[in-house]
C-alpha cells in the first residue's frame, strides 16, 4: 500500500515521520518517568536500567536511535523547504541526501550500541583480543 500509492517520496516521508514521531513520544513518556525514579526509587530505576543494557534493550535502543535520526533529518528537510521555498527545486536531492546521512551516521551508531552482541563473537573466533 505504502509503495503503490502515487504520493511517491513525500508520501513515504510523511508516513515514516508520523510513525517515528509517535514512537519517540512513547519513549519520552517512559524516559521522564524512569528518570524521575532516580530520585524517588533508585532501586527500581537500576532494575529498569538492567533491561536497557540487555541485548533486547539495546536492539530497542537502535530502533529508537533510527526513529530519532530519521525524524530529525526529515524534519530538517521539511523546515528547509517550508522556510526557504527556493529549495523546492532540490526536494528530491534533499530526500536522498537525508537517507545517505541516515546510513552513514546510523550504521556505525548501531554497531557501537550493539557492541556486546558482536564483540564476544569476534573474540571467540580470535579476530580481536
Amino acid at each position: 500500500m505504502l509503495f503503490r500509492y502515487r504520493g511517491r517520496e513525500g508520501m513515504i516521508a510523511w508516513a515514516f515521520h508520523r510513525l517515528s514521531g509517535v514512537g519517540i513520544f512513547a519513549f519520552v513518556v517512559l524516559h521522564v518517568i524512569d528518570i524521575y525514579l532516580v530520585g524517588g526509587n533508585p532501586e527500581l530505576y537500576n532494575e529498569i536500567l538492567t533491561f536497557y543494557a540487555s541485548i533486547p534493550g539495546r536492539i530497542l535502543e537502535v530502533v529508537l536511535g533510527a526513529a530519532l535520526l530519521y525524524h530529525a533529518l526529515n524534519g530538517l528537510r521539511i523546515v528547509i523547504i517550508d522556510l526557504w521555498p527556493r529549495m523546492t527545486v532540490y526536494h528530491r536531492f534533499l530526500w536522498w541526501a537525508s537517507w545517505a546521512i541516515f546510513i552513514v551516521v546510523g550504521v556505525p551508531g548501531a554497531l557501537i550500541i550493539l557492541r556486546p552482541v558482536w564483540l564476544p563473537f569476534l573474540q571467540q573466533i580470535g579476530l580481536v583480543s
Binding site: V22, I35, L49, G75, I81, D82, G109
Partner: protein
C-alpha cells in the same frame, strides 16, 4: 459561507512539497503552533541528538546507574540545564505533534476533546516530575 459548529476543528493540510503541515492560514494560534514546531524541531536536532549520542556513544547504558546520574551526569549545573531545556522543547514538540495526530484520527468530538485533555494533563505531569527530579536530586559527586 457555511456556518460550522464551534467545536469542529480546522482540517490540517499538508504542504505538497515538504509533506509537513502546510502553513496555517487565518488562525493566529495555529500559526504559533506551526512556527513553534519548526523552532523546537531545529533545537531538538541539536539537543536530542546530542543527548542520545552522549548517553549511547560516550557512556554505555550499562554504566548509567542511579549513582552515575547523581555523581557524574548531573554533577554539573550545565548538564542539568541542558537536560531541562531538552525536556521543555521535547514536551512542546511531542505534545503539539500528538495533538495533530489526535485531531487527524479521532473524529468523535467528545472522545477527541477527552483525549486532548488527557494528553495535556500528561504533559503537565511530565513537566512537573521532570523539573522536580532535575532540581532536587542531590549533587553527590566531586
Amino acid at each position: 459561507m457555511n456556518e460550522q459548529p464551534a467545536t469542529t476543528v480546522e482540517p490540517v493540510t499538508l504542504s505538497p512539497i515538504s509533506r509537513g503541515r502546510a502553513r496555517p492560514q487565518g488562525s493566529r494560534r495555529e500559526l504559533v503552533a506551526w512556527y513553534g514546531m519548526r523552532v523546537t524541531g531545529v533545537a531538538l536536532f541539536v539537543l536530542a541528538l546530542a543527548h542520545f549520542s552522549i548517553l549511547h556513544f560516550i557512556w554505555d547504558p550499562a554504566e548509567q546507574t542511579a549513582e552515575f546520574i547523581a555523581t557524574e551526569r548531573w554533577n554539573q549545573i550545565f548538564w542539568r540545564g541542558f537536560d531541562w531545556l531538552l525536556l521543555m522543547t521535547v514536551l512542546f514538540h511531542g505534545f503539539i505533534g500528538m495533538r495533530i495526530v489526535v485531531r487527524d484520527y479521532i473524529h468523535r468530538e467528545r472522545l477527541r476533546e477527552f483525549t486532548l485533555i488527557m494528553l495535556y494533563t500528561l504533559a503537565l505531569l511530565l513537566l512537573v516530575i521532570g523539573t522536580q527530579v532535575i532540581l532536587t536530586l542531590p549533587m553527590r559527586g566531586a
